[in-house]
């Protein structure tokens, strides 16, 4: 049960850390790498607050062992934007009030980011289906959906221009 050396590329930076095989990726991200954007909500694969992107897939980081992510590229909310330069999705969540307490927001935006890569011009229904693995207990989702649709249309305009 010795610790394994795990090498990851997190938000563009190569990092190396040690973890027991039983350590979940969310715990390694938060406690060892101090990447605290992804949150621990339910820790039972339901809420999606811990969503990160691993090699182009949205993954609930509470339901994968860190050793399984060995060698992969991980993007968290920290890799999408920062306070000086917000990602379009972050801008739109702000503009459309797509959050209240903010707890689900990092997972919600990380998931929306992947959704818009795979489907740059989604319908409202496709957005709702696409974020169905992320729970929000404040907003009732209306403004989250609006924000994601607004981000999609801005990203599409930018591409055309």
């Amino acid at each position: 049960m010795t610790k394994a050396t795990i090498s990851l590329n997190v938000n563009g930076q190569t990092v190396e850390t040690q973890a027991e095989p039983r350590e979940l990726l969310i715990h390694v991200l938060r406690e060892q790498l101090e990447i605290t954007g992804p949150h621990i909500g339910c820790e039972t694969s339901h809420c999606g607050a811990c969503t990160v992107e691993i090699d182009g897939r949205s993954v609930k980081s509470c339901t994968i062992f860190a050793v399984q992510a060995q060698g992969s590229e991980i993007t968290t909310i920290e890799g999408l934007g920062n306070p000086d330069k917000l990602h379009v999705l972050q801008e739109k969540f702000k503009e459309h009030h797509g959050l209240q307490c903010g707890f689900c927001t990092p997972g919600m935006i990380t998931r929306a980011h992947r959704l818009l890569i795979e489907n740059p011009n989604p319908t409202e229904e496709e957005v709702r289906f696409g974020i169905s693995g992320n729970l929000c207990r404040c907003t009732g989702y209306q403004n989250i959906v609006k924000a994601i649709l607004a981000a999609a249309s801005e990203l599409n305009e930018t591409e055309v221009a």
Binding site: P21, R22, L24, T44, R57, Q68, Q70, G133
Partner: protein, 285 residues
């Protein structure tokens, strides 16, 4: 929610994985997408001392359509099933079912092999595989064998797979007739309160030339409804034969009271989803 301690193994070939299982014996468990096993490990309902991860075995990840037959590697994810244009043409019911499993994040990780091999009555793919009359390839160190999905499930979490075998591939015929997978669930991400997989083919003369029905989460195994399937082929599709088929299916299910409702309610829900699935499949046939 910290799982018990274990050693992690990531073999890069099937032979290496089988050898590990053989050497480690009862203390080892195979992990595919992990979305059934990891939650059980967090609850310490599963405490394997060794995990053998199949993710690095590239032979287990493929979708092949050839000569009227579809074969899918066990480590193919639900998202890959959904994204396969070839599969959408040759067996559209697979995509329809996969889209009703869990949520997007889980579908990126969860595999068809894990879903069929785990033996959880709540899983959706087992009934679909019975409906499609699929065969499962099981590999052991001594060689391979094939078990039909209709003969694979013995009881909840008990299947025909030996602990030292790995389910490597799923094979079923191309099916382009009418199809439907109807699932009643309390919310996205939940297992079925009741679900039905139905395939119906319309013959040249308008009759029903092939029918197959299987049900999810209405007993401790998936239920293939052989009598109802045959009856629909013999009697053709009309209101009376559909009602008879639904009645016949409801007689062989055995749901239990749980947090999804009492058994009587599940039987009621089963009748509704099954009727819907038959109607839907026939309208597409």
């Amino acid at each position: 929610m910290i799982p018990g301690r274990f050693d992690y193994h990531q073999p890069d070939s099937l032979t290496a994985a089988l050898t590990l299982l053989n050497d480690l014996g009862d203390d080892a468990r195979v992990i595919a997408g992990g979305h059934s096993l990891i939650p059980m490990m967090k609850l310490r309902l599963a405490m394997p001392e060794h995990l053998v991860d199949l993710k690095a075995i590239s032979d287990l990840k493929h979708i092949t359509v050839k000569d009227g037959s579809i074969s899918i590697g066990a480590m193919t994810t639900q998202a890959e099933l959904i994204g396969s244009a070839e599969l959408a043409l040759s067996a559209p019911i697979v995509k329809e079912t996969a889209l009703q499993i869990a949520d997007p994040q889980i579908r990126y990780q969860g595999t068809i092999g894990g879903n069929v091999a785990n033996g959880d009555p709540g899983n959706d793919m087992p009934a679909l595989m019975q409906c499609l009359d699929a065969e499962f390839q099981l590999s052991g160190l001594d060689g391979q064998r094939t078990v039909k999905a209709r003969e694979f499930y013995e009881a909840a979490y008990f299947t025909a797979r030996d602990d030292l075998e790995i389910l490597t591939e799923i094979v079923f015929p191309v099916c382009t007739g009418g199809y439907a997978y109807e699932k009643q669930k309390r919310k996205i991400g939940d297992y079925a309160t009741a679900a039905a997989a139905v395939l119906l083919t319309r013959g040249a003369d308008g009759s029903c030339s092939h029918a197959s029905i299987a049900l999810t989460n209405l007993a401790d195994t998936p239920i293939y409804c052989e009598d109802a399937s045959k009856a629909l082929m013999n009697s053709g599709i009309d209101d009376a034969s559909i009602a008879a088929a639904v009645k016949s299916c409801l007689e062989i299910i055995d749901p239990v009271d749980d947090n999804r409702g009492p058994a009587a309610f599940k039987k009621h829900a089963a009748g509704i989803v099954l009727k819907r699935a038959i109607d839907n499949a026939w309208s597409r046939a």
